[in-house]
């Protein structure tokens, strides 16, 4: 698996890593039972603090997407909840894609669309679902 974290993206690195792992399971790049590198190994690969990887793994374990086995590392666990979430996200992506195509057809540039999305996400009050 290749992950790429952006130090200046305005998002905590552990959240970026969580998203990329989630995305990999949604796209099929990571399947049920697949093993992820150990915390130390991945931290050295990405040249980030081991705490970043540890936090991402532990949050994903909490969500039920990863299973931590002491001594042998992290394994992807696509239980029913994980699968339904994956389907939900994939349908959301389709709908967002449709909307973006529509806005592009109306002549908006990608930068403008991105700013609209970001501003709207910030405008709606933070909810418990935001992670």
């Amino acid at each position: 698996m290749f992950f790429k974290l952006n130090a200046t993206a305005g998002q905590a690195l552990y959240l970026q890593l969580m998203q990329q792992i989630r995305h990999a399971t949604e796209s099929g790049a990571l399947g049920d039972g697949d093993q992820l590198p150990g915390i130390r190994t991945l931290a050295e690969q990405l040249v980030v603090s081991p705490n970043t990887v540890a936090k991402a793994y532990s949050e994903l374990e909490h969500e039920g997407l990863l299973e931590m086995r002491p001594g042998s590392g992290a394994f992807v666990s696509l239980n029913r909840r994980g699968r339904s979430l994956a389907e939900h996200v994939s349908s959301a992506r389709q709908r967002a894609g449709d909307l973006i195509r529509e806005l592009r057809d109306e002549g908006l540039h990608d930068d403008e669309i991105r700013r609209v999305f970001e501003a709207e996400l910030l405008r709606t009050p933070e909810t418990a679902r935001r992670r």
Binding site: A7, T8, A9, G10, Q11, A12, L13, Y14, L15, I39, R40, A43, E44, V47, V48, S49, P50, N51, T52, R115, E118, A119, L122, R123, P125, E126
Partner: protein, 297 residues
């Protein structure tokens, strides 16, 4: 339970005659984390570090490192057995060869990591038989790092470790620091290389003119700090935006630029009620945070 900090200071001060190098610094560095210590040249970083290590006597305040008081010479010696320090000037015995200084240093430390020594010798491509005084500045830095990292210290203090290293050297340095952190070593490193700190630090402290002006987690900086640019048909008074989280306001023509350390939602809500024509929110890099925080003073 909150783990005991590895470094703690309270109102730490150092004056050289009339010049106050460090003016009342309260540090609290958590264990098992990588903490970046940023500041311009002359901000007081090295003086602070030397006080932590008992090499410079504070003129006020106090502190502890690994639970041992920094102003107690006996405790300080004991503390130094568990702290590895790479100084700015990387002073080493010039007459020894690389292999000799490694053998000499390793003799003092029962926990010496032979595997780390071997790995770093290879990674840093150090010539074992060359005398230290014949090494380039970058090579000497690498020797000093090897000696510090192979000791398996509880706390690693690095003062401007990246100075004199080329980009590959800096990358190797960061990798080595991350690896030692993975072994459970707490890291406190000073730098004016913001990009280095930004990549690997969990926490960042910024020192400016002898004062600690920021102490935050990188997660918090990334998630909360924003640059907000607003455009209005008619510019409202800046006082409308003097609210929690807004650190700096600048107005120019129809535009207003805000630097916020949080509370972005409330700022946007205020902008809407004031009929902003456009609201542009962008994340800020550590460089922006640094410049904005230092300039705001």
């Amino acid at each position: 339970m909150i783990p005991a900090p590895v470094i703690q200071t309270s109102q730490l001060r150092k004056a050289y005659g009339k010049f106050e190098a460090v003016r009342g610094v309260d540090l609290c560095v958590e264990p098992n984390r990588i903490t970046g210590f940023l500041g311009a040249n002359g901000a007081g970083k090295s003086t602070t570090i030397k006080m932590l290590l008992g090499m410079v006597k504070p003129t006020g305040g106090g502190g502890s490192v690994l639970g041992r008081r920094i102003d107690d010479p006996g405790a300080s010696v004991e503390m130094r057995r568990h702290v590895a320090y790479v100084s700015e000037d990387k002073r080493l015995y010039g007459y020894m060869t690389v292999a000799q200084i490694i053998r000499f240093t390793s003799g003092f430390y029962p926990d010496w990591r032979k595997d780390v020594e071997r790995d770093l010798l290879a990674l840093y491509e150090l010539p074992p038989d060359r005398k230290i005084r014949l090494l380039s500045k970058g090579m000497r830095t690498k020797v000093a790092l090897l000696l510090a990292l192979a000791r398996q210290p509880q706390l690693l203090i690095l003062d401007e470790p990246g100075d004199g290293l080329d980009p590959c050297g800096v990358e190797q340095l960061l990798e080595s620091v991350v690896a030692r952190s993975g072994d459970g070593t707490s890291v406190f490193f000073s730098s004016h290389q913001i990009a280095e700190v930004e990549r690997i630090a969990d926490n960042v402290c910024i020192l400016d003119k002898g004062r600690l002006i920021l102490d935050a987690t990188m997660d918090d900086l990334r998630q909360s700090y924003r640059q907000i640019t607003l455009a209005f048909p008619e510019l409202p008074a800046e006082s409308e935006f003097q609210m929690a989280g807004v650190e700096r306001i600048r107005s120019n023509g129809h535009q207003m630029s805000l630097f916020s350390s949080g509370n972005t939602e409330a700022v946007i809500e205020r902008a809407r009620t004031l009929h902003a024509m456009s609201i542009d929110v962008t994340p800020v890099a550590l460089r922006d945070v640094y410049l904005q925080t230092v300039r705001a003073r």
